[in-house]
Symmetry: C2
Subunit: 307 residues, 2 copies
């Protein structure tokens, strides 16, 4: 999958993933009304609305992008019906040949991490049969519990040729509270980065990048530059572009000389583009076209920054 990711990035010239994080407030009224008419103002109705919203966004953008990153929390908030919409979204994106990065930020002790890994990347055995649970291609992982919480993900992912991104330096304002604290004179996120390298070095794709990557927020470009050098063969998933404030010019630090090594996420900035003045001409009815226009603009912004 890391090879497929690199191939698809080269083909689209778009190191971009669309964050499928459908807050109900992003979904145009006409989509919600249709879903509620059919299923009521219920969890099922909400799930139908976000699924139809996602489907339209995917249909309008899939040819431009290599990957999507559905944020499972946005589905989990609607309980079981929401998670059914998550699974439908994952499956539909696979039909469209998109790589699916499940933004799940899981992590637990050994056998429990193994269960998460099984559910999201691998197959679970039931009697003489086995089944995929959610079947993403990559997941995000929280490293706070250390190697024995990450290793089970590697053990499950590698035989499936799937991968993961480890939270290293996150994009949020409070991320420094623990991540920036100095350990032997160096910030904790650098120690995590060193572990990302050691976890991944035995698991390299043919493209020269590892199946084990890192999450580093676009909102901290100086730290991004340091982390890029510390983890030359780790792909970096970069959240924080657009709505969180980062621009194309902030992103150059996250890429290698080969123009690769990073994939930049935008969620709100794309899926709710129609709510921005820049794209208001599309109107709510044109929300999917607005998303397509926003992807094209983002692609150009990043391409010109990388020139």
């Amino acid at each position: 999958m890391i090879d497929k990711l690199v191939e698809k990035i080269k083909k689209t010239n778009a190191p971009i993933e669309v964050g499928l994080d459908p807050m109900l407030s992003y979904v145009p009224d006409f989509v919600k009304e249709k879903a509620y008419k059919e299923l009521g103002e219920t969890l099922e109705g909400a799930a139908e609305a976000i699924w139809q919203f996602n489907k339209a966004i995917v249909d309008a953008t899939y040819d431009l992008i290599p990957a999507v990153k559905p944020q499972i929390a946005m589905y989990e908030q609607f309980g079981i019906p929401g998670l059914i919409a998550f699974k439908k979204t994952v499956d539909y994106c696979h039909e469209k040949d998109l790589i699916v990065i499940g933004d799940i930020k899981r992590g637990d002790i050994g056998s429990t991490s193994g269960a998460y890994a099984t559910g999201h990347l691998g197959k679970v055995t039931v009697g003489s049969k086995s089944y995929y649970g959610f079947d993403e291609d990559f997941v995000t992982i929280n490293p706070y519990m250390g190697t024995d919480s990450v290793q089970p993900f590697i053990d499950v992912a590698i035989p499936e040729k799937k991968g993961m991104f480890i939270l290293t330096k996150t994009s949020n304002p409070s991320s420094g509270e623990f991540q920036d604290r100095l350990v032997d004179g160096r910030p904790l996120y650098e120690l995590v980065a060193e572990k990302v390298v050691s976890w991944g070095e035995q698991h390299m794709g043919k493209c020269g990048y590892s199946y084990v990557g890192a999450v580093v927020g676009a909102t901290y470009p100086e730290m991004g530059a340091v982390l890029r050098k510390l983890m030359p063969k780790s792909f970096i998933l970069v959240p924080g572009y657009g709505a969180q404030g980062a621009k194309g010019s902030d992103l150059t630090n996250y890429f290698n000389e080969d123009g690769l090594g990073a994939i930049v996420n935008s969620s709100r900035g794309i899926i709710a583009a129609y709510k921005q003045p820049k794209y208001e001409k599309f109107g709510a009815a044109g929300f999917a076209d607005a998303a397509r226009a926003a992807v094209i603009d983002m692609q150009q912004d990043i391409a010109s920054a990388l020139k």
Copy 2:
């Protein structure tokens, strides 16, 4: 809920929670065979087996204990059907008046943490209606992303009179990799503990304990003693008893002078007790009775250690 937790601990004299972490390998063959006969060797069949297993364990132990802690990973590995079994388990435990601690170890940036909090502790709004998603009473949270990842859980939990436990020092062998690293001469887990105190100090129950507690593994009793003193008003959720190696005598450090302040989890040691030589007389058919016997033994082990 923190008040209810303390009341129920006093009433049962059992600062114990049963970890409902039903690996399929713990479920006796006759339970699995019945479920597979009905629903096939499918995800639905597996989910039915773990649900029936859980129900029998809860029926056999609910009068002895204040709380259960279902580990969502063990359900998530079976995809949607597994999560339906998780929700059925949560609801059934509420019917039995048990406090449900959702061991979900979630954590993300602001609005995304808010979505997790909504899904697990609060109500989500759909049009003019609102609904609980999973509706646990407490959840566990990963603090790596800092205050703005924890605050949304507090914002949702407090109006619902629900609470949370923050991963501070976890029970697994690798937990020291990051958690023990020295920051200004002090281990990172102490910094997390100080944040637990500050996050919780505005949110105190009538019992004198905060709605914001901490997870500290039983496998590190010396650190437990330090953390107990650092967080005198925070309840401590203590995993690691039994199968992970800790005994009653390791636990005294986690309690305050009032005999309160901690709740000890055992999962495998109780739900798969029938597989231990000590309880083999119950046989697979008596797995629930074996669980009850193991709860009674655990209660006595802890009570005599606390004397």
